[in-house]
């Protein structure tokens, strides 16, 4: 079968975050003695390891947490970094991959729901820039929303990238003929790739249908205090 015009058979690329800055999303959720510390930020994996301890000490001092948190935070960061590094040497599939990214997060008093498509192949993409523009366009005043959005995007990209590493490994093991086409069928996000063919084929146009507009429109809600409390209580309950 002849490979379609889209270059499926590109040579696999070493794993990295498909963004312009190779940053790792780190999520912390530590509980000691009933005190819960949740945080999410991006880390530069090329920083020296001493930076981890410095950062955790700084955070504990700033937030006036008990010092038992320092080691926990540092070890959590380090495990996630190690996980990231374990992927680094391996191959990642790099074919056509446009994936849907969903945003569903609550930062202080702002609730954000959004969905859009992202090109995994674009290694120059910048979630931070997207977040900046997002906040500016929607007039979000809370300065903490931007980093949260960027982090959510980055996290999903990271997940998809790791999945692609796994699937690249599978296809390498199977080692059958047209790796590209096989891969296209076996990859998890092949759904969207095929959708693309459907969407951008000669029958349809790039312009989205009107009925799909609601799905792809960002929703930004400003919550009052009571709603925030209710949501938090619900979250805690579901976690338990």
């Amino acid at each position: 079968m002849k490979a379609p015009a889209l270059s499926f058979s590109k040579a696999p690329v070493k794993f990295r975050m498909p963004t312009s800055a190779n940053l790792v999303p780190i999520r912390l959720d530590i509980e000691i003695d009933g005190q819960r510390f949740k945080d999410a930020f991006t880390w530069n994996p090329s920083d020296p390891d001493s930076e981890v301890v410095v950062f955790s000490k700084r955070t504990v001092k700033d937030l006036k947490l008990p010092p038992a948190f320092i080691t926990q935070i540092a070890s959590s960061i380090q495990t996630q970094l190690a996980e990231f590094r374990s992927y680094e040497g391996q191959d990642m599939y790099s074919g056509e991959k446009i994936v849907p990214i969903k945003l569903d997060l609550r930062v202080n008093h702002t609730l954000i729901k959004d969905q859009f498509l992202w090109d995994m192949n674009n290694f120059e993409s910048d979630p931070e820039e997207f977040a900046r523009t997002f906040c500016k366009d929607l007039g979000i005043e809370d300065p903490e929303v931007g980093p949260a959005i960027a982090f959510a995007i980055r996290e999903q990209l990271y997940e998809i990238a790791t999945q692609s590493v796994a699937s690249a490994r599978e296809s390498r093991i199977s080692k059958k003929g047209r790796r590209g086409t096989e891969h296209a069928t076996s990859s998890k996000s092949s759904g969207s790739a095929l959708d693309l063919v459907k969407l951008f084929g000669y029958r349809s146009s790039v312009v989205r249908k009107r009925k799909d507009w609601d799905v792809y429109e960002p929703i930004v809600d400003h919550l009052s205090n009571e709603e925030v409390d209710a949501l938090e209580a619900r979250e805690v309950r579901t976690i338990r």
Partner: protein, 521 residues
């Protein structure tokens, strides 16, 4: 936003306060857009081209005036401008300028820097008391990797562009702690006159220099102006800024330092008139330093107190006829009372009796406090006599305990009644009495036990005797029966014999019968 890097020669070393090597062209291209920085004296920028990145720049004098809404930055950070990047920024944070990573470019750096500074100033304007922003606050609002944000934040903090408080006196807590500690350590010296102690300590802690001469800080080699911190352990003298910034060696702890006031008297010497006023006021008002300060006029109450202590002839005013020795005792007892209390008590020991009692309440041991209280009430001699009597009686009680319990008990009670002294004695006697009682009890119990044992023995012996008697009776009965039996045997034999005789008297078988009877015999 064009990024221009200023072309001036390296001006990394911040200026010292008193050196005046002015290099006119080394002024940074300060844009007109610096409305928020102070414009103090000319920046003294020595043209030392040190390429070494200094970790913490040496702090100079703070800008003079301090209004509410003006943002303060130290004079060595005048290069800061919103639109430009200075050379020292390039030097300190090279990661943004070496185009190694595409996301770290000067534009991004400026965005981080400006937003952090803006955030700090916003914070400062809104919440005056807590003027610092933490790194965590900053990084939560910035998009990017936390490592580089932290570096920018540290850089800004080190150069005083954020979290900078305009005057070094804004560290009241630490300094006041030092003050209290040093003066209480002075109070612990068992000198009769607190003033003498204070004067001596002040002299010794001024270090190598006298009070009026300048003290040079061993950390930054600048003259210490307001106060300095001396560490005796390692023989260091640091100016206030170096101490606060932690600019000392690794092994030295911040608690090893002692604060030394220098500028108290050098700032404004006390005139004779003021001294006189002070003395009069103290005589009149005693320990009410507020009124003393009012009387003196122009001096705060703390200044009055401090100056009064430093006066060499203050001893005379502190020694009172009766309460001199009492003062000694009290000074010895309350090491841990803070400076105010001590000053009050020493300055106002004119009214001795009243104050005699108050410091004692602070003694940690309640029993000792009571004892001291009682002895204070009774007077020194009486307390001494009482203590001696208590000791002697205790020793006597110790001897008495080895005798017969009851007699010693009586003795102890007599001794108890004889003593009219504070508490420690009675507790000793009570112990002795208890001991003696216990002894007597023991002996009684022993006797009881003996008696019981003897009774048991008696009873058992009786039992045995009875048994013996019984057996004897039995024996006798047996004998009797035996005898009876014998008799009966004999009778039977006699009967048999007579019967045979009668038979033998018959005609034919007589002979045989006789033979038989002979044979039988």
């Amino acid at each position: 936003m064009a990024t221009t890097i200023s072309p001036s020669p390296v001006t990394l070393q911040p200026p010292g306060p008193s050196t005046t090597e002015i290099e006119p062209d080394s002024e940074t291209p300060s844009n007109p857009k610096q409305p928020q920085t102070q414009t103090p004296i000319k920046p003294d920028t020595p043209a030392t081209a040190t390429a070494v990145a200094i970790a913490t720049p040496r702090p100079p004098d703070p800008p003079p005036s301090s209004d509410a809404d003006i943002i303060h930055i130290p004079s060595y950070s005048r290069w800061f401008s919103w639109d430009n990047i200075h050379e020292c920024e390039v030097r300190f944070l090279p990661e943004f300028f070496d185009s190694r990573s595409p996301s770290k470019n000067p534009k991004v750096y400026m965005h981080y820097r400006n937003s952090i500074v803006k955030q700090f100033r916003e914070h400062q304007r809104q919440q005056a008391p807590s003027r610092k922003i933490t790194f965590t606050d900053a990084r939560k609002t910035l998009v990017g990797d936390v490592g580089s944000i932290r570096r920018v934040f540290d850089f800004l903090e080190a150069w005083g562009l954020i979290n900078y408080s305009p005057s070094a006196q804004n560290k009241p807590l630490k300094w006041e702690d030092k003050d209290a500690k040093s003066s209480s350590s002075q109070g612990a010296e068992a000198k009769a006159a607190a003033a003498a102690a204070a004067a001596a300590a002040a002299d010794s802690s001024a270090g190598p220099s006298k009070e009026n001469s300048k003290v040079v800080c061993s950390g930054c080699k600048l003259v210490c102006s307001i106060a300095c911190f001396a560490c005796d352990k390692y023989d260091l003298t640091l100016c206030a800024r170096c101490y606060v910034r932690g600019n000392y060696r690794v092994g030295v702890n911040s608690s090893d330092f002692r604060r030394v006031e220098i500028s108290e008297d050098t700032k404004t010497d006390w005139t004779e008139k003021e001294n006189l006023h002070l003395m009069e006021a103290i005589l009149h008002y005693g320990d009410d330093w507020r009124r003393v300060a009012q009387y003196v006029g122009g001096r705060s109450d703390k200044e009055c107190v401090a100056h009064f202590l430093k006066l060499p002839f203050g001893e005379e005013y502190l020694k009172h006829a009766d309460s001199g020795e009492v003062d000694v005792k009290y000074n010895q007892m309350k090491d841990h009372v803070d400076a105010e209390c001590r000053l009050e008590s020493s300055g106002a020991s004119f009214s001795s009796k009243r104050l005699c009692l108050t410091p004692l309440a602070d003694a940690s041991n309640p029993i000792m406090a009571q004892a001291a209280f009682l002895s204070a009430l009774a007077g020194v001699d009486v307390a001494e006599a009482a203590a001696q009597a208590a000791v002697t009686s205790l020793s006597q009680v110790g001897l008495g305990a080895s005798k017969e319990p009851q007699s010693s008990l009586a003795k102890i009670t007599k001794l108890q009644e004889a003593d009219v002294t504070p508490n420690g004695n009675t507790t000793g006697n009570a112990l002795e009495g208890a001991f003696v009682e216990a002894n007597s009890q023991l002996q009684k119990d022993e006797l009881d036990v003996e008696r019981a044992i003897s009774r048991i023995a008696e009873v058992q012996m009786k039992e045995i005797q009875d048994k013996l008697v019984h057996f004897e009776n039995l024996d006798m009965q047996m004998e009797k029966e035996w005898q009876q039996l014998e008799q009966m045997k004999n009778m039977l034999f006699v009967d048999q014999l007579t019967l045979l005789f009668h038979r033998s008297s018959a005609p034919k078988t007589d002979e045989r019968m006789e033979q038989k009877s002979v044979r039988i015999d």
